[in-house]
């Protein structure tokens, strides 16, 4: 087993052992899901049964998939990576004969996949009980790899954004911006079709859509396999971007003192 796989496996085991943290996060997700289910059911009902092509049934599966894909990653991760860079804590990782960003991504991926599976299992049961089975079995089959790709895109993008700390010394503002972009342009709060057409087109062309909108679109019954290719392309691009940012950043790191 190589270092990245070993790191991911150890992190996944650690996430499984931190039952309290996992339970709180899944419970938080379930509460959000119940609130959003009620909200979007009412909104669809008030709009003649559907909004922009989504009925209440597909909307709730959309919300479960979008929220579940995003909630799998750690909150404020950009801030904590930025702190490790600006405080110099990252130097111990630079002393290992392996990619700093690669090991960090593997660690986060191992944990995130555990949280993703647990959250979606609970979310799936809640929505199934609320509105019935998923709109499309094919859509759900596509959703499974899409949700993994979504987590990968999200983690890679967060590391790329956090790498700004090599230059800015503080990634807090970056985190604030990133979070809003995922919420709105990533389709986490609402399907992109609900946005004005021009803004929706822009949002679809950005990587944030691959983090929430794509898996949610597939889970809501839209069988559009090409979306997986879009995600895969973004994942490759974002990984290259994160790797490039760390590569350049590590070369200009200035750590004064012990």
């Amino acid at each position: 087993m190589n270092a990245l796989a070993a790191q991911a496996l150890i992190s996944a085991r650690r996430a499984l052992h931190q039952r309290g943290e996992l339970a709180v996060r899944v419970a938080f997700y379930a509460i959000i899901l119940v609130i959003f289910s009620a909200l979007w059911s009412a909104a669809a009902g008030a709009n003649g049964g559907s909004i922009s092509g989504y009925d209440a049934h597909s909307l709730l599966w959309y919300v479960a998939a979008a929220e579940g894909s995003v909630i799998a990653t750690k909150p404020r991760m950009i801030e904590s990576i930025g702190w490790d860079i600006s405080s110099g804590a990252i130097v111990t990782e630079m002393l290992r004969p392996a990619s700093v960003v690669g090991l960090r991504l593997a660690a986060e991926l191992g944990e995130a996949l555990v949280r993703l599976v647990c959250s979606l299992a609970v979310g799936g049961v809640i929505v199934w009980l609320y509105v019935g089975q998923p709109p499309s079995a094919a859509g759900i089959a596509l959703f499974v790899p899409a949700s993994f790709l979504a987590v990968g895109c999200n983690l890679a993008a967060q590391h790329a954004f956090a790498g700004a700390a090599f230059w800015l010394r503080d990634a807090r503002s970056t985190w604030f911006l990133y979070q809003k972009l995922v919420f709105l342009l990533g389709g986490m709060l609402l399907p992109l079709e609900f946005l004005p057409t021009a803004l929706a087109d822009v949002a679809r062309a950005l990587p944030f859509a691959s983090m929430a909108y794509v898996p949610a679109r597939l889970a809501s019954g839209h069988v559009e396999p090409w979306l997986l290719l879009v995600q895969a392309a973004w994942l490759a691009g974002l990984l290259a971007c994160a790797g490039g940012v760390f590569w350049a950043g590590e070369r200009r790191l200035e750590v004064v003192g012990g």
Binding site: A3, I10, A89, L95, R96, P97, E254, G258
Partner: protein, 313 residues
């Protein structure tokens, strides 16, 4: 054979913003060589440039100018290649994963260093025994005391059998017993495995107990480079004693000892070890007075450095 070689190595940092932005020289034209198997103490007060030097030698920082090789490699351009052959321990920065046990950390490190699984397990057990950490290795790192953690940090640092060991203030924050134990372990690793030791510290005792050669750096410049035995003879000629008496001792005078009363019952004594040993002073005190407490410390590094400067003028 050389383990480390530097030639006029310098590092500047930028400080301030806008118009106040200026360059600060942390390390200035340092040149020295370290033979394989040598135990070098690289010492200096806070802000002297010790950590900056070590970070350049391990490839973390790029120098502003000058050259350096470690095991024949240029650290900042061949960092990962070098990382397989050196071990680095920062006293103020942990390399262990706090949520894992040390054994899990060692397993992960064995994958990172691409060690054979069976060899790595055997080496982890050997190190646990050598570092007296067999009862610690399966505990979560977060539950270890600082002294225990430093033993595990050392195990993680030498798991892959580094040829050069960089220790950056490894004894900082440790109590006296833990410090002594740590120093003994470093010497054992050097003697049993032939590992070159490059130790930075601002604790004079680290020099005496670990190193056979000392380089003193101050304000980014090397001001002293000699064998520890010679330094001891020429510079470390005093020991400081703080003595607390059960009751006021009255007039206290010992030949070769400078006495400074700090209160009625507490006295500071500076012992000139060229004239008499600490043991002789202790014997004399214990025979003549009721002693509540005694501590013996080395002169602070600032005093040693002042003596180095004093000796030059």
């Amino acid at each position: 054979m050389l383990a480390i070689s530097t030639h006029e190595l310098s590092k500047d940092f930028s400080a301030g913003r806008g118009r106040d932005r200026r360059r600060l020289r942390a390390v200035h034209d340092i040149t020295f060589e370290v033979e394989r198997g040598e135990r070098l103490a690289y010492i200096g007060p806070n802000g002297a440039g010790k950590s900056t030097s070590i970070k350049m030698l391990t490839g973390i920082l790029h120098p502003t100018s000058g050259e350096a090789t470690v095991l024949g490699l240029v650290p900042w351009t061949q960092r990962r290649e070098l990382a397989r052959r050196i071990g680095t321990l920062f006293g103020q920065r942990s390399q262990l994963w706090f949520e894992l046990t040390t054994r899990q950390t060692l397993h992960l490190l064995s994958r990172i260093y691409r060690l054979d699984g069976d060899d790595a397990r055997r080496r982890a057990d050997e190190l646990a025994e050598l570092l007296d950490a067999t009862d610690l290795i399966d505990q979560p790192v977060r539950s270890l005391s600082l002294g225990q953690r430093m033993r595990c940090e050392l195990a993680a640092t030498v798991l892959h059998g580094p040829e050069v060991l960089f220790l950056d203030e490894p004894t900082i924050g440790l109590d006296l017993i833990a410090k002594q134990r740590f120093r003994e372990m470093v010497v054992r690793l050097n003697e049993e495995l032939g590992t070159t030791v490059f130790l930075t510290s601002h604790d004079v005792a680290d020099i005496e107990h670990v190193a056979d050669r000392v380089v003193v750096i101050n304000h980014g410049t090397i001001i002293y480079d000699d064998q520890v035995a010679r330094m001891r003879r020429s510079l470390l000629q005093t020991k400081l004693l703080e003595v607390r008496f059960e009751e006021a001792p009255g007039a206290l005078a010992i030949d070769g000892v400078q006495v400074t009363p700090e209160s009625d019952t507490v006295y500071g004594l500076v012992v000139d070890t060229r004239r008499l040993s600490v043991r002789e002073v202790l014997d004399e005190l214990l025979d003549a007075y009721a002693i509540a407490d005694i501590s013996v410390v080395d002169p602070p590094l600032e005093q040693v450095i002042a003596e180095i400067y004093g000796g030059r003028t």
